[in-house]
Amino acid sequence: MPSPVEILPPPPPENVEPIIRVQDFHAAYGPKTVMKDVSFEIYPGEVFIIAGGSGCGKSTLLKHMIGLYEPAGGRLFIDGDDIGPADDALKAKILRKIGVAYQGGALFGSMTCLGNVRLPLEEFTDLPGAAMDAVSMSKLKLVELEHAAHLMPSEISGGMQKRVALARAMALDPKILFLDEPSAGLDPITSADLDSLILSLSRMLGTTFVIVTHELPSIFSIASRVLVLDASVKTSVAIGDPVSLRERSRNAWVREFFSRKGFDHRSDPPLSPGSLS
């Protein structure tokens, strides 16, 4: 008997078809079940966060949603099409609707940053070369990296690589953007800029974001709703907006997860230099 998922506000919008629907999803690596009985829906324009402790299967769920792995059970509908059993043609159609920015960037090392962003435009549009350059450059400007356009990925920092990866994922203006830990490794200012960019794209272009993260400042500033996964029960335990999860969840672990204090809420004063000598 699967444990019920606690559903907190906001309620799903009426008369709106979900853009992603996950039904009774199971994931397994060989004989080992890593996730079971996960069901949820994501609506167009939402910034949907998948959160949870380390090892709870956040990235595993994301990789199934983008078609890298086949689910052990259940169904994963992306804009109406089930990606799990999809044949190559259907999968290609589904993949045109999504963009993915991986945790480590996964940039193509043999191309410049501009070349990385330009690649999807070359493959999937008929824009003239100068237009591809201009569009790619505007995407790089969005992530504040136009000055790095002609550098190779090996010549920029890890955080910059992640931002180029985001620009590449946005190149074709996909309906859905999947981001795996986009803020990890970024400084607070860049991370906040990235959050405001996500909100802008969501509002202006109606882009749906599915983001794996456990950065609380980001979650509270951008999340429409959060799905909380729990490694101990290998399934989802709650879904709702972050404030409701923090204030009203019946699950003490969920309340604690969303109430963690930042480094500026230190309970003990720091040791002064030389105080132990």
Binding site: D126, L127, A131, K139, K141, L142, S154, D173
Partner: protein, 376 residues
């Protein structure tokens, strides 16, 4: 928009500014055709002021934003002024984030190629750096191998045995097969011409000298370079890329002692054995041809033992020792010198194999000459 492209219209305002009215959808599909028709006139004759009217735009995605950014770059980059009118607030915010800070800067990549003298200097510095690292590595290895002999309890024997298994035991079949085929081919190729000279009975002599003195150890060493030299470079190179080497160094551990010594010792233990296998199988290959020509095993054995003795055999084993050190050391060195980037490990592996085979042949020539002058 019957033709599925974004409509546009240029006009001139009363104050002399150029006005561009865009309408409909601005996306990658609708802009593919009109893009040059919109941008080229602006590029060829940049106006002092450009007003872009977006009142009739129903949708604008990244490609549309790209067009506006390009217009801004062409006009503002040449000292003009651009005004985007009737822009929805959300779109203005996205456009503001997308406009280039320095529109005058070209989108063309900066020239990366330096002058001939700079390139010559850079290449010379790289060669000198290569030489320095080879000399340093050789010195380190020369110190560390005697250390390993005098401090056997400090050697990582577990890693050494694993490397020996991969380098030796797992290579036995391929070394045996190649040795057998080389012996067979040499005997087969010699048999024809020697028969015409009436010297068919000397085929075992040729096979024995070629295989025992040269080709047995050489084939084993070439397989070692292809299988294990490349594997050493790839393993250590990947460790370099993933900063495992840096972690070793920050623990105060020497990568040479920790990674190179086990691999070199493993190669030293197994390469002479592989050489013996290769030689033995080569001799068997030679006998197969002689048997087909009607000669008996005792005849073949007598001919072989008359042509080569245990000194020749030991020559081959001695060469195998030298080849083992060269191949393992160059594989490890290439791994340790791996640069960053996805192609770096591949480059190191290629360098390890090529350098290993070249060094084997050079060493073989030097050793052959030395043995000749020493009369052995």
């Amino acid at each position: 928009m019957a033709d599925g492209t974004a409509p546009f219209r240029f006009t001139t305002t009363q104050d002399g500014a150029t006005r561009l009215a865009l309408s409909g959808r601005l996306d990658a599909a609708t802009l593919a055709g009109p893009w040059p028709k919109i941008v080229d006139p602006i590029r060829s004759a940049p106006p002092a002021a450009l007003d872009v009217d977006l009142a009739e735009v129903t949708y604008c995605d990244g490609a549309g934003i790209g067009l506006l950014v390009e217009l801004d770059r062409e006009v503002r980059g040449r000292g003009g002024a651009v005004r985007f009118e009737n822009l929805k607030d959300d779109l203005r915010s996205l456009l503001d984030q997308s406009l280039l800070e320095d529109p005058a800067r070209s989108l063309e990549p900066p020239a990366r190629r330096a002058g001939a003298i700079t390139e010559l200097g850079r290449s010379t510095a790289l060669v000198l750096d290569d030489i320095r690292s080879i000399v340093t590595f050789t010195g380190e290895l020369t110190l560390v191998l005697p250390w390993a002999l005098t401090h056997p309890h400090r050697v990582r024997w577990g890693d050494t045995l694993k490397a020996a298994e991969k380098t030796g035991a797992n290579a036995t079949y391929v070394v045996s097969l190649l040795g057998f085929l080389v012996g067979l081919i040499i005997a087969f190729q010699c048999a024809g011409p020697m028969r015409t000279l009436g010297a068919e009975a000397l085929v075992p002599t040729v096979v024995a000298v070629a295989i025992v003195r040269e080709l047995g150890p050489l084939m084993a060493a070439i397989i070692l370079a292809g299988r294990s030299g490349s594997a050493f470079a790839a393993e250590i190179g990947t460790m370099k890329v993933t900063e495992e080497i840096s972690a070793l160094q920050t623990f105060g551990l020497s990568p040479t002692k920790f990674l190179v010594v086990p691999r070199v010792l493993a190669a030293l233990f197994v390469t002479p054995l592989l050489s013996v296998f290769s030689t033995l199988m080569g001799m068997i290959g030679g006998y197969v041809v002689m048997a087909m020509l009607g000669y008996s095993l005792p005849f073949y054995f007598d001919q072989v033992t008359a042509a080569v003795d245990y000194v020749d055999f030991l020559q081959g084993v001695a060469k195998a020792f030298v080849f083992a050190v060269l191949v393992a050391a160059i594989g490890c060195l290439c791994g340790l010198r791996t640069q960053s980037g996805p192609g770096a490990v591949g480059d190191s592996t290629t360098r390890a194999v090529v350098a290993g085979i070249v060094l084997i042949v050079i060493a073989d020539a030097i050793l052959g000459t030395c043995f000749y002058y020493l009369g052995i």
